[in-house]
Amino acid sequence: MRGGWLRIYAITYLVFLYLPVILLPMFAFNDGTVMAFPLKGFTTQWFVQLAGIEALHGALLNSVFIATITATLSVLLGICAARASTRFRFPFKAPIMGAIMVPLVLPEIIVAVSLLVVVVQVLDLPLSAWTVIAGHTLICTPFAIAILSSAFQGLDQSFEEAAIDLGETRWGAFRNIILPLVAPGIIASFLICFTISLDEFIIAFFLTGAEPTLPVYIWGQLRFPTKIPAVMALGTLMLLASLIILSVAEFYRRRGVARVGGNDSGGFL
């Protein structure tokens, strides 16, 4: 068999990667409070129970709020950085771009602790949703730049010049020609930033104020064994939402690549 060992390796890899994730919906529908095999039976009571928890709703709203603002800020910053890096030449471009992209690989706990020190000790600000937004924007912006850069990169510079040649101002050319052409990239990066912020735990855990985000709330619930099935149900819903959002993002990213006639390179899915 051709590539036999590679195929076994690939399958093993996928099983290790996704088996734990599959356990999540499995126990979410399990009729029992203890997470153990054999499964007891099918139930949707944990989902019903979710609907009745007030604190959960607050956390969810809080998370969605943070994710929306974070994604908006990250995309706006990302557009500026991606355009600067693809369109202009300036001194220290490489080190500057490198510095912006570093949070992508920086350990989150380091980022979280240093942000906490800055916010509390240096700035003496109260922790709130806004401090979480600041932290999330820091780690989301590199993702937005990565996606938007490929959108801007695929764009022929002549488009902008042609628009100016036809009487547009610089801003008019950007708004009427460049923005529509990179719109799929903007949507894709917004959705990915939204998802990252929604799922992020460590920074939110350190920087959140009185109102926890959803992941922080879930972590709190894990101390109570009876709440675990409901958390499983919640996790299942979040998993589903993330998959849907990422698929939509990838759809738009590919459409953007096709629109400007570029070659598809990279992408997250």
């Binding site: 022929d156 010049e161 628009a163 100016i164 040649d165 036809l166 009487g167 052409l181 629109r259």
Partner: protein, 362 residues
């Protein structure tokens, strides 16, 4: 009056000297070409005229007006880009009508003018098509219509035919020429293809390394290149070492390597120069192989060996090593039914036309 006047244009990119004192006048209604190898500054010069590059020094006059500080969107020029830059998210009609959006025309008039522009480039009825679904030739036409609809004083074309295949390119060359005569607008074409420049232009500026080497109509450029480099760049040219013998009245006598003595009139000498160790240039068609036994009276004949040949159907290009020389010369001969094509290794008798010689100072 010239529509464009370039006076002492200098352009630096940091240390790199891209344009070195360009002076040039372009007449109204002229088809003018900027010809040169890549990196010679021809595209930079075009972009200077369009307003996409500012000059480090010098003046650009457009219709008598100084263009210093006038941005690209305010200049009476329009450009056809090398990549055509057809906006992929708009329809053909939206692309063509893009420049008129600011004019706030009534929809019916806008539509009429777009239809007229599309008609002009032979794309009637293509208005509703999506721009990304067009072929290369069609994109080129849309780009032309989009630029011409604004009735610019000058149309700038940046290597517009380089992306097309040979057949399409030849067709577009004659169409562009026809279109230019029809609209009467000054066209400035940037190209690296000397054949294209010769076919299409009223006048050609040959550029090397940021400088204009010669500005001349195609025939003059081909027949009387002012430097060896121009002669080499335009078509094929043979170069033979020459020895200056003497000046006899209105003629100058030279001894040419492999060909013997020649008397050359003064207009064949560049800038009237005469005291030099010159090189003589000779086009392939100025040399011919004679087949019949007797040369014409007064015709001088030298002999050589055919070392290589390229058969083009209508023409054959021979590489002939003249006796007593080291480099073969290229000779082009029209193929006739009654005339055999010589084979490699054959002896050939060669005659040449004194009036076609060009003398170069170096």
């Amino acid at each position: 009056m010239s529509i464009i006047s370039l006076q002492g244009i200098e352009k630096f990119y940091g240390e790199y000297h891209a344009l070195k004192g360009i002076d040039c006048e372009i007449a109204e209604g002229e088809f003018f070409s900027l010809l040169g190898p890549s990196g010679c500054g021809k595209t930079t010069l075009l972009r200077v005229i369009a307003g996409f590059e500012d000059v480090s020094d010098g003046v650009v006059l457009l219709g008598g007006q100084n263009m210093a500080g006038v941005p690209a969107n305010k200049r009476p020029t329009n450009m056809v880009f090398q990549s055509y830059a057809i906006f992929p998210h708009l329809s053909v009609a939206q692309n063509v009508g893009y420049g008129l959006r600011r004019a706030k025309l009534p929809p019916a008039e806008l539509e009429a003018r777009v239809a007229e522009a599309l008609d002009m480039v032979g794309l009637s009825g293509f208005g509703a098509r999506a721009a990304h679904a067009l072929s290369g030739g069609q994109r080129q036409r849309v780009a032309l219509a989009r630029a011409l609809i604004l009735k610019p004083k000058v149309l700038l074309l940046d290597e517009p035919l380089s992306a097309l295949d040979k057949k399409m390119r030849e067709q577009m060359q004659s169409e562009l020429r026809r279109l230019q005569r029809q609209v009467g607008i000054t066209f400035i074409l940037v190209t690296h293809d000397q054949e294209e420049a010769l076919i299409m232009s009223d006048r050609i500026a040959v550029m090397f390394e940021g400088e204009i080497a010669q500005v001349a109509p195609p025939q003059e450029l081909y027949r009387r290149p002012v430097t060896r480099r121009v002669g080499e760049f335009i078509g094929v040219m043979n170069f033979l070492d020459a020895r200056h013998l003497d000046d006899g009245g209105d003629k100058v006598r030279f001894d040419l390597e492999g060909l013997g003595e020649a008397s050359i009139s003064h207009d064949q000498l560049p800038f009237g120069a005469r005291a030099f160790a010159p090189v003589v240039g000779l086009r392939p068609e100025a040399l011919s192989v004679i087949y019949d036994a007797k040369p014409e009276p007064g015709q001088r004949v030298v002999e050589g060996e055919v070392v290589d040949l390229s058969y083009y159907g209508d023409m054959t290009y021979y590489e002939v090593q003249l006796d007593g020389t080291t480099q073969p010369v290229t000779i082009s001969m029209k193929n006739l039914a009654t005339r055999p094509v010589l084979e490699r290794g054959a002896r050939a008798r060669v005659t040449w036309d004194e009036g076609s010689l060009v003398v170069f100072a170096t």
